[in-house]
Amino acid sequence: MRDEVRLVDKKPDGRATAAVFDRAAVRLGGKVVWRDVSFEVAGGEFVAILGPNGAGKSTLLKALLGIVPLTAGSVKVFGQPVRRGNDEVGYLPQRRRFDPDLRIRAIDLVRMGLDGGQWGVPLPSKSKQERVEEMVALVGATGYAQRPVGELSGGEQQRILIAQALVSGARMLMLDEPLESLDLNNQQAISNLIRGICQRQGVTVLLVAHDVNPILPFVDRVVYVAGGQVVCGKPADVIRTETLTRLYGAPVEVLTTSDGRLVVVGQHEPVSYHADH
């Protein structure tokens, strides 16, 4: 399913479009999460989905996966209506760590991304085995792929899960808070890995993030989810003190470093009854 042409035109023209939301709306438990959402993601783009807790960022991914049904409008992935089990889409859900006592090898987990959903007894397959090993090598996990996944560190588990998400030949990778609960080094390493996959493999990346700074240098476009609305734009247009302060409903400052990078900083409110983070 992987095509060799990886240089995708990043302008959102019809052919290279990876995902399209058209006046989409989702209601969960009688409450409108967001509505009238229209935007496009071009093939090969690195898109950050930002917004406050509970705004519906994860729901945006779940709508793309076909797990959460729309109440209005439409969502398409690579020109097709969304459906579960699409081999062209890889998914890393927001998760807690695997149970330390989970006794299954990391490489078995990667293999599940290939044929774990099929009925019947899995037969040994050389081509599938090679495909799995190729993906494990791509994310740099060869050294620990034979170990039980519960014994691996948070960063190692994320690499394994990225391999699992890509193994079926995914051209779009959806990651829900993949940097959560990683230390700074691992945040940087995983961010770099995802960017490399985006650039070298031409995989479209949609990444839900709480803390935008580790990925900000790579992001082509930003999708902001807040207050039932979704705003989409270039980082330089959206990552601005006024825009973020309005969207978060709390004081946020955007600073520019000496080498031109943007940094988002939450300000201390004069009177604060809860923790800042």
Binding site: L65, I67, R83, R84, G85, V89, Y91, L92, P93, Q94, R95, R96, R97, F98, P100, L102, R103, I104, R105, D108, L109, M112, G113, D115, G116, G117, Q118, W119, G120, V121, P122, R147, P148, V149, S153, G154, L161, Q164, A165, S181
Partner: protein, 300 residues
């Protein structure tokens, strides 16, 4: 009952073991049960559903009693009750092993009620304690030809079902969110496995009884998963251990005239303890014993 003790001649011993019809039945039923319990046990341990297995076996107790009371096979009664309980759990859609406090109280009340119901049924039937005893601790040496046939049908069907759903079941167990996104029906698989588990429990109760069911349905899987994290090997090892416990237990019981349930549970327990001890020793020797990083688990 046995006139001759075991010798060092294995062939003669086996001939001795199988000279009576009840022992032939015990070995056939025991082998079928061990195969199914060992295979289902791997999934029970991987899914952390030991408690569900235990609960099903207790709910099966009045079922067996009802079977006796109505002059049909007690195994049939077990199957009907276990199946109803499995569908009940599946329909409620709750994870019984997640440790919800309110639910454990509710489940505890249901279990006590079902044991009490079983007590009543046995009293209504004959008023004898022997029937109760055999269902609490196993009745392998009194298995009828009809029960052997029923066990065969149940074991073959359940084994086929496990072979069919095993792979997506492991996926749904280990990584339910991704499995769901990949098109796996996690909820249906969960119910499907509970149904297979109900059948496995129903026929395992014949061998080790309601109270000792862990020996065949949990211990082999737990031991196997300690030894290997490869799904195929762990499954095969679980089945092999379950078979070994059953065969050895039956032979030891025959030659010593002590209860089968005692030997099977002892073998299962000893194996598990030995493996844990050996693994602990290997960790210390290899210097791999280390503190786990704290995981910052947050409830979703």
């Amino acid at each position: 009952m046995p006139q001759q003790g075991p010798s060092w001649d294995l062939v003669a011993d086996i001939q001795l073991l199988l000279q009576f019809h009840f022992m032939q039945n015990a070995f056939i039923a025991g082998t079928l049960v061990a195969l199914l319990a060992g295979a289902a046990g791997y999934f029970v341990v991987l899914r952390g559903q030991s408690f569900a297995a235990h609960m099903l076996s207790q709910v099966g107790f009045p079922g067996a009693a009802a079977g006796v009371l109505l002059h049909v096979s007690p195994v049939l009664g077990l199957i009907v009750f276990c199946l109803a309980a499995a569908l009940g759990i599946g329909w409620a859609g709750r994870d019984l092993d997640a440790g919800h406090r309110a639910e454990s109280a509710a489940v505890g009340s249901i279990l006590a009620f079902s044991l009490g119901l079983g007590l009543l049924f046995f009293r209504l039937y004959a008023g004898s304690a022997a029937g109760i005893y055999s269902f609490l601790f196993g009745t392998i040496l009194g298995i009828s030809d009809r029960d052997v046939q029923l066990t065969l049908v149940v074991a073959v069907l359940s084994f086929a079902a496990l072979a069919l759903i095993g792979r997506p079941l492991v996926f749904a167990t280990v990584d339910p969110d991704v499995a769901e996104a990949r098109g796996v029906n996690v909820q249906m698989l969960s119910i499907g496995f509970l149904v297979v588990l109900a059948f496995a429990v129903a026929i395992t109760v014949q061998i080790v009884g309601t109270l000792l069911i862990f020996a065949l349905l949990v211990a082999p899987g737990a031991s196997a998963l300690q030894l290997t994290a490869r799904p195929g090997r762990a499954l095969a090892l679980s089945v092999a251990l379950s078979l070994a416990f059953t065969w050895l237990g039956l032979a030891l019981a025959y030659f010593t005239d002590l209860p089968v349930g005692f030997f099977i549970t002892s073998l299962a327990f000893a194996t598990y303890v030995l493996i844990r001890a050996a693994k602990g020793a290997a960790l210390v020797r290899g210097g791999r014993l280390r503190f786990r990083e704290p995981s910052f688990a947050t409830p979703s």
